[in-house]
């Protein structure tokens, strides 16, 4: 049996091996074989600053799904040290409650620093988990850079986690989270300052809300927001992220944990995103974004392979000497390579 066949047959060892190959960029054939088997899992991105309790929340959310009899794959991303190339992947520590549960698969992944590499690995890994039959795939990442924003574009529903007392006021909360958040979660909601955090988020939502039903929601590249279809009612075609307060470390059965409300918010978003209006557009945007990103990476790789090292160094020297400006340098390289990039 091929590795892909083993994954489809339910082998966890094969799945783990496949994820390694995906990380190393060596799973092209397997992913092609598995792609027809994807599209069933609901992918949830979880992002937010360090210290907001993301791993504990992932742990609690996964447990909630398990009580519903659903299976969960988890991809937990941690940063690679830019100085040493190594990483401490410690998210599993927070997920002890999920140990021994055959309905859960947890994989830790380091960012590895390469441009676009992580979002490709995370996206392909989510697909592998999807093909392996998991109902939900949770991707947890640190919401610090562009890479992480790209990862959440892989997700169907994105949760942005905030916590009180981390310097949250209107200025501190990044306006950019409105671009990516489908649900805003204020975790550690038993901490002082939670009311201010919720108020700050609400104020931001009000500022970001279009004042007219007919105005289009502002797009930045591959935003997940959809242009309002002409004639559609505002409530029907706009998704305003709800704010949910959670205390992820509390027992699921404790109403103060907020997990019931969180799961409800996720399911509401899922219903919205899969309704006939939105589904096709969102899917189209997601795939378009992915193909553009892959084209960028693929073309870049080919180009860099074709450009002789000393020619490139020569160009750099000329730019440093102010003989050539950077844009002209790039155009010169491309002109030289035209015709030699095989497509």
């Amino acid at each position: 049996m091929s590795l892909a066949e083993q994954v489809l047959a339910g082998s966890r060892r094969a799945l783990a091996r496949l994820l390694t190959r995906i990380e190393n960029g060596e799973a092209q054939d397997e992913l092609a074989a598995l792609f027809p088997h994807t599209g069933r899992a609901w992918i949830i991105g979880i992002t937010g600053a360090p210290g907001t309790g993301k791993s504990s929340l992932v742990n609690a959310l996964a447990q909630s799904f398990r009580t519903q009899g659903k299976t969960v794959g988890i991809i937990a991303v941690d940063p690679t040290s830019p100085f040493t190339g190594g990483a401490i992947l410690g998210d599993r520590i927070r997920m002890g409650a999920l140990a021994g549960d055959a309905g859960v698969f947890i994989r830790s992944m380091a960012t590895r620093g390469s441009l676009g590499g992580l979002s490709r690995a995370a996206r392909d890994s989510a697909r592998a988990l999807d093909a392996a039959g998991f109902d939900y795939v949770l991707i947890e990442t640190v919401g610090a850079g562009q890479s992480e924003v790209d990862i959440v574009r892989t997700a169907h529903t994105t949760l942005v986690i905030e916590a009180p007392g981390l310097g949250d006021d209107v200025q501190a909360i990044k306006a950019g989270i409105l671009e990516i958040a489908d649900v805003l979660v204020v975790n550690k909601a038993d901490r002082p300052g939670v009311i201010n955090t919720v108020r700050a988020l609400r104020a931001m939502l009000e500022l970001g809300h279009p004042s007219s039903r007919l105005s289009t929601v502002n797009h930045h590249g591959a935003s997940m927001r959809v242009n309002m279809p002409v004639g559609a009612s505002a409530s029907e075609s706009m998704w305003i992220p709800p704010i949910v307060e959670t205390i992820a470390t509390k027992e699921l059965t404790d109403p103060a944990s907020g997990l019931v409300q969180l799961v409800e918010a996720i399911e509401k978003h899922r219903a919205f995103a899969t309704s006939s209006h939105q589904r096709r557009q969102l899917e189209h945007q997601r795939i378009e974004f992915e193909l553009q990103e892959r084209l960028r990476n693929e073309l870049m790789e080919r180009l860099l392979r074709d450009v002789p090292r000393d020619a490139f160094k020569n160009v750099i020297d000329r730019v440093i000497a102010r003989e050539l400006d950077p844009q002209s340098a790039v155009l010169a390289i491309l002109d030289q390579q035209r015709g030699s990039i095989s497509v």
């Binding site: 966890r12 060892r13 783990a16 091996r17 994820l19 390694t20 190393n24 690679t80 040290s81 040493t84 190339g85 190594g86 990483a87 401490i88 992947l89 410690g90 599993r92 520590i93 002890g96 140990a99 021994g100 698969f105 947890i106 994989r107 830790s108 380091a110 590895r112 620093g113 390469s114 590499g117």
Partner: protein, 137 residues
């Protein structure tokens, strides 16, 4: 980014031993040596260690044992790992391990024993050696 595969190593403290400073020091030094360390912390059962090793597809499992229970824990962990078809994942151990137990541990497939005072460079080097030996080529 270099094409070199990153070494993925699981670091776990099995049993009831609560002294994790050594394990954390090793974890950080291996990160500084360019490895990806899946650090699972305290109170790991053999089943949890095997499950994590499987899901994370690690190159090695590193156990930190200061409690003296290594002769019970390590064979058990090896047994559970093998039951999960993880025979090809080597184990190394750090902590308080008397010399007279080392030979026995090697019989249980332990590829390295590092007592207190082992240099972190030595540990990293030995790990690279072990992973290099196992690599198919």
């Amino acid at each position: 980014m270099s094409e070199q595969r990153s070494i993925r190593i699981l670091i776990a403290k099995p049993g009831l031993d609560g002294h994790d400073r050594g394990a954390k020091v090793i974890a950080r030094s291996l990160r500084d040596a360019g490895m990806e360390v899946i650090y699972t912390g305290l109170r790991q059962t053999p089943e949890m260690i095997a499950e994590a090793a499987l899901q994370e597809d690690v190159d090695l499992v590193g156990l930190s044992i200061l409690s003296g229970a290594h002769m019970t824990l390590i064979p058990r962990i090896r047994e559970v790992m093998d039951a999960h078809e993880l025979q090809d994942i080597p184990i190394i151990v750090g902590g308080i391990i008397p010399d007279e137990d080392r030979a026995e541990l090697e019989k249980h497939g332990v590829k390295g024993v590092f007592g207190p005072g082992s240099s972190t460079e030595e540990i990293a080097r030995r790990i690279r050696e072990i992973v290099g030996e196992a690599a198919p080529e």
